[in-house]
Subunit: 394 residues, 2 copies
Amino acid sequence: MIDHCVNGFRAAGIAAGIKPNGEKDMGLIFSETPANVAGVFTRNQIQAAPVVLDRDRISSGVSQAVIVNSGIANCCTGEQGMQDAVAMTRVTAEHLDLNSDRVLVSSTGVIGTRLPMEMIEIAIPRLVAEARPDGFIDFAEAIMTTDTVPKLVTRRSVLNGTPFTVTGTAKGAGMIHPDMATMLAFICTDAGATAGELQSILKTGVERSLNRITIDGDTSTNDTTLLLANGRSGAILRTEKDRELLRETVHEVMEMLARLLVKDGEGATKLVTITVKGAPSRQSAHTVADTVAKSALVKTALFGEDANWGRIVAAVGRAGVPIEPDQIKVFFDDVLVFTNGGGVDEVGEERITNVLKQPEYTITIDLGLGLSQVTVLTCDLSVDYIRINADYRT
Amino acid sequence: MIDHCVNGFRAAGIAAGIKPNGEKDMGLIFSETPANVAGVFTRNQIQAAPVVLDRDRISSGVSQAVIVNSGIANCCTGEQGMQDAVAMTRVTAEHLDLNSDRVLVSSTGVIGTRLPMEMIEIAIPRLVAEARPDGFIDFAEAIMTTDTVPKLVTRRSVLNGTPFTVTGTAKGAGMIHPDMATMLAFICTDAGATAGELQSILKTGVERSLNRITIDGDTSTNDTTLLLANGRSGAILRTEKDRELLRETVHEVMEMLARLLVKDGEGATKLVTITVKGAPSRQSAHTVADTVAKSALVKTALFGEDANWGRIVAAVGRAGVPIEPDQIKVFFDDVLVFTNGGGVDEVGEERITNVLKQPEYTITIDLGLGLSQVTVLTCDLSVDYIRINADYRT
């Protein structure tokens, strides 16, 4: 059994009664001592009250607790919604004997409904009482909405002889609808780093992981990613090399979380890596990769295990990036299926189908125009109605 | 029974054997005398051979026949594909005793497969022999792919005492996947107009009708809209007022075709008009309308008859257009459901549900920022997997 403990952190998750089905719906993470903090939030112009509150509070660079509920997003709830978000942090702070401004809050669920504050205020002391070093798995369960499995990842490394831990938990983001579910991610480390160092690590990490699966910059009203570092391992960043080691470890956790989010896309049966290379710029590579990765038609073909490279090429052609059709090559894993403006006839359907039958594989699109490369993750559209499209070719 | 005859035009549709299920898959329209012609084509950079050929040929402004096959798109078929497209027009021209460059060609279906030219060459003389003034319905059936019903619209009007007819036929465009099926539309009139007049009418008509349903400018590799006018009614454009009358009549046909395409979106049960008003510019109104209209999450709520205005507001917020959340109003038909940054509690769920239960209704989003307005059409996502999202709130 994996140990998800991080020195000085405790976590809990319980059923507060917000979800009618009685599942866990409130979670708490706190550090026994103040932690430095960084955050990345939704770019949606409609922002839930907790996002507005957190964005303000992390400007201090210090935080000690995060209180989270699932089931209700506390978004489009006006002045009352902000009062409720503040009250969640105030009650949490009281029971942890902290200042309110050291507490952050996240909500995820239905928009436009008020939080049941009575239930929440009863639940918070229970969360505080139940919080344990090994409570991250309960927290991970408590933040789920349409997720089918909790997502929890831990990586350990050694900094100048001192071991440290990074533990992250997240909730989806059904890949079918990047705008659908709120994406929440919380990453805790016992390494020591300044708020500025954390913000740099988090920002580049989001760019390389979670933003590679939200596809086109669509963000929900509540998307939040927080990184807390309490330094309790004694592993403190001193040199650029130290910073690089923490960055790599945090990014590894974030990339694993991103993979778990895609794998748990609603009904997903395939985890497909889309690599666009030979692009004239990273931006154009990203645009092409995103267009292919979010094409419902491509995704239905992935589900149908259908070697329908025409849909991939058509998505490339409408991405809005200048291309040379005759320069494009498309590979399923290492099998070349499209080149010189047409299909590769001599590749047997069987070889291609063997790739497409795998639960995980890579589609590589070489634009043949430059040196830039980008990789994104996507899943198939596996659900019944998709059969209409998956069978289109037969 | 509606009479879809247009003076001097004949049409036919037959099963040539391209579709394995034996359904009609080849169609022909021709004018007994030369017609002036205009065309609007896909903006996808990957273009099927018939699109490349037609774009070149309509530059002459004169055409007399259109040969179409469904089942295979003749796209990404290289030099051979262009030879096949040219051959389709050559064989058609021979049997109609025309020059090849007077014949246009369209294909729709699977990308990357060669046309079965033997079948096609056998079918063409049959099409020529079977072509009749009342053959448009057969043609409309022959161009279908995932469409469930043929789309055929006729409007008649009188120009300076002379009656004229406009008949249009189209194939979808499953609304679920704007990039999925090729959209083909063919409009014939016996009014007389120059190629320049036709191009102006067609371009503005596409902008107001077919481009309002392809949502975000996504176009397939084969999208084609052609307008032919043979002047055989004797109704000839002379004044600006005449041009306006033909423009209106053609646009009415195109708007009807657009509605039919949306109504036949895969599995659609609702035809929903999305009007964005109070926008600072038409461009921003269009962007917001498109973002809402193509949001899978909004569309699942429409199917679920779920008054989930939060999803609409969240889509508005991520459209990338500056907004003032507190200025936004959202109406279901004339029922105000969102204002001042939150839901309208005093509206009973029943009043809202009565709107949402209708097969056709309007969602109006007033941004409260300006005077520009745009209307687009969308449909719900009704298929089974959608229940996951439709039930998300309950």
